[in-house]
């Protein structure tokens, strides 16, 4: 594969540790926060951050995950027979909490908009923040991340591939050149 690897296994681990530190630093002892990962890879990153934040702050932070496919504004443009994504799991009260959304790649911002919509159907958090592993630019909505693992300048046609052990068998972030990329790049909206 002619992928250009930008974060390898160790980089990825260090990056997550740094994000976890920043979260604990910014939010105090972790009281009143909750981590919510966006399916599929955001949910995996959410689990990892959850473990790290728990270790650092010594408190168990509520963890949830969110499937936003029902909140997208492009159902008719999605491939037919797309596999079913998992259910959402948010088993705690959002009222008064600082919810930190976790996703792998921040691109157009549309996924995050959908996630915020979804979140508010569960309750009314006091504050919503955003943690992403990679910010690749090209925003189409006024959305900015609060915690960024890596800023990655990309061309619109390129594809950012985040691979995680739990879903893909290895940990890395790579950029694939334009010609192999599928227009739209729905994984990373």
């Amino acid at each position: 594969m002619d992928d250009n690897v930008v974060l390898d296994h160790d980089d990825l681990r260090r990056t997550l540790v740094r994000i976890a530190h920043e979260i604990v630093e910014k939010t105090g002892d972790g009281g009143g926060i909750a981590l919510v990962g966006i399916h599929t890879r955001g949910a995996v990153l959410g689990q990892r951050l959850h473990a790290l934040v728990g270790e650092m702050s010594g408190t168990e932070v509520p963890l949830g995950d969110l499937d936003i496919s029902f909140y997208r504004d492009d159902l008719e443009r999605q491939p037919q027979g797309a596999p079913v994504v998992h259910d959402s799991h948010l088993d705690f009260d959002l009222e008064g909490r600082t919810v930190i959304l976790v996703d792998d790649v921040l691109y157009t911002g549309r996924t995050i908009r959908a996630a915020i919509d979804a979140l508010f159907d569960y309750g009314r958090p006091e504050r919503v923040q955003l943690a992403v592993l990679v910010d690749r630019g090209h925003r189409e909505l006024p959305i900015r991340p609060d915690y960024v693992g890596k800023n990655l300048p990309t061309a619109p046609g390129e594809r950012v591939n985040v691979r995680l052990e739990e879903t893909d068998g290895s940990d890395e972030v790579a950029i694939a050149p334009a010609e192999t990329a599928v227009a739209g790049g729905e994984e990373e909206a």
Binding site: D67, F70, Y71, R72, D73, L75, E76, R77, Q78, P79, Q80, G81, A82, P83, V84, V85, H86, D87, S88, D117, A118, D121, Y122, G123
Partner: protein, 319 residues
């Protein structure tokens, strides 16, 4: 998949995908706000030429929970009363540019016909004695949640099979999912050659104890133009599922509405083995999943509408 006209022709992975997605919608139903914005701005038309309580109400609610705008047209009180043909009604309703049309009609094949006359996705909500696919899918969903995969499970469908579109769709769906199906009823109410659909046929309830699931059908008095059974009392004596005939480990299903005291004895309807209320509950999420499945990926490039073939038959008008 653009239309859902019947279980016939569906493949198992398609069914499984719809049922999996229904599970996701069940999660939505547990929230405080039981609505998602998936179909905002889309229109869904329910066109019902026959009476219905649960099918119509669950389709309406399913569309609303997906944030679609929904219009329900019932034959009684509409222009159909004034003699408008099905085709004309469809072109009238197509003016609203619906994303989907849900149709129930007394004529077999009506949904299929409609699918040729409109750009919308067509969902068959029951066409005469032919099929009722959404009922069968919600029944498979209900059972799968209760007992897991249906492979090797024995299901008896008991009663008026001849007039029942539910029986036909359920038979096909249960078989598709790997179950063994037995049809049971008076010989006059079992279609000849039913064995060719890959099921067993029996004319008495002996052997019912071998079933994991007993699926009772409604005696469809409105479709019976001649006497198929000597009397409902005699039918009940031989075929009614009651607490004597239903074993403690067997599950009971019925598509509703139930004729209490005819095909089912009152005590089994309200027993814990009865899944009848669960079936209604499943109807909502399964219909949400079906609408989602049909509308996903249908990018709204509207094909030019050509003239209909000259020999297209029209329902509601003499040929």
């Amino acid at each position: 998949m653009k239309h859902l006209l019947g279980i016939e022709g569906l493949r198992r992975p398609e069914v499984e995908r719809i049922l999996d997605r229904a599970e996701s919608f069940a999660e939505v139903g547990k929230r405080d706000i039981k609505k998602v914005p998936t179909l905002r701005g889309r229109t869904i038309v329910n066109l019902f030429y026959e009476s219905s309580t649960r099918t119509l109400s669950s389709f309406e609610l399913a569309a609303k929970r997906l944030s679609a705008d929904v219009v329900s047209v019932k034959a009684a009180g509409s222009s159909v009363d004034k003699g408008e043909s099905l085709k004309d009604t469809i072109s009238t309703l197509s003016a609203y540019d619906p994303a989907a049309i849900v149709i129930r009609a007394p004529h077999a094949g009506a949904a299929e016909l409609v699918s040729h006359w409109t750009d919308a996705s067509v969902i068959n909500a029951g066409d005469g004695k032919h099929e009722h696919p959404t009922q069968a899918l919600l029944d498979v969903y209900t059972l799968r949640r209760q007992i897991g995969e249906l492979d090797g499970k024995r299901i008896w469908i008991v009663g008026d099979v001849l007039h029942s579109r539910v029986a036909r769709s359920c038979l096909l769906a249960f078989r598709l999912m790997g179950a063994q199906v037995t049809l049971c009823g008076p010989p006059t109410l079992i279609p000849r050659g039913a064995e060719s659909l890959g099921c067993e046929v029996t004319y008495d309830l002996e052997g019912l104890s071998s079933a994991d699931v007993v699926y009772a059908l409604r005696m469809q008095r409105e479709r019976m133009s001649e006497s198929f059974v000597p009397s409902l009392r005699e039918y009940a004596a031989r075929y009614q599922i009651d607490s004597r005939r239903l074993g403690p480990r067997q599950l009971l299903m019925h598509p509703g509405p139930v004729n209490r005291g005819v095909e089912l004895a009152p005590e089994v309807i309200d027993s814990p083995q009865s899944l009848i209320a669960t079936q209604v509950e499943s109807g909502l999420v399964v219909r949400m999943a079906i609408i989602y499945e049909l509308l996903a990926g249908t990018d709204r490039q509207r094909p030019e509408r050509g003239p209909a073939p000259a020999d297209t038959p029209t329902i509601g008008q003499p040929a």
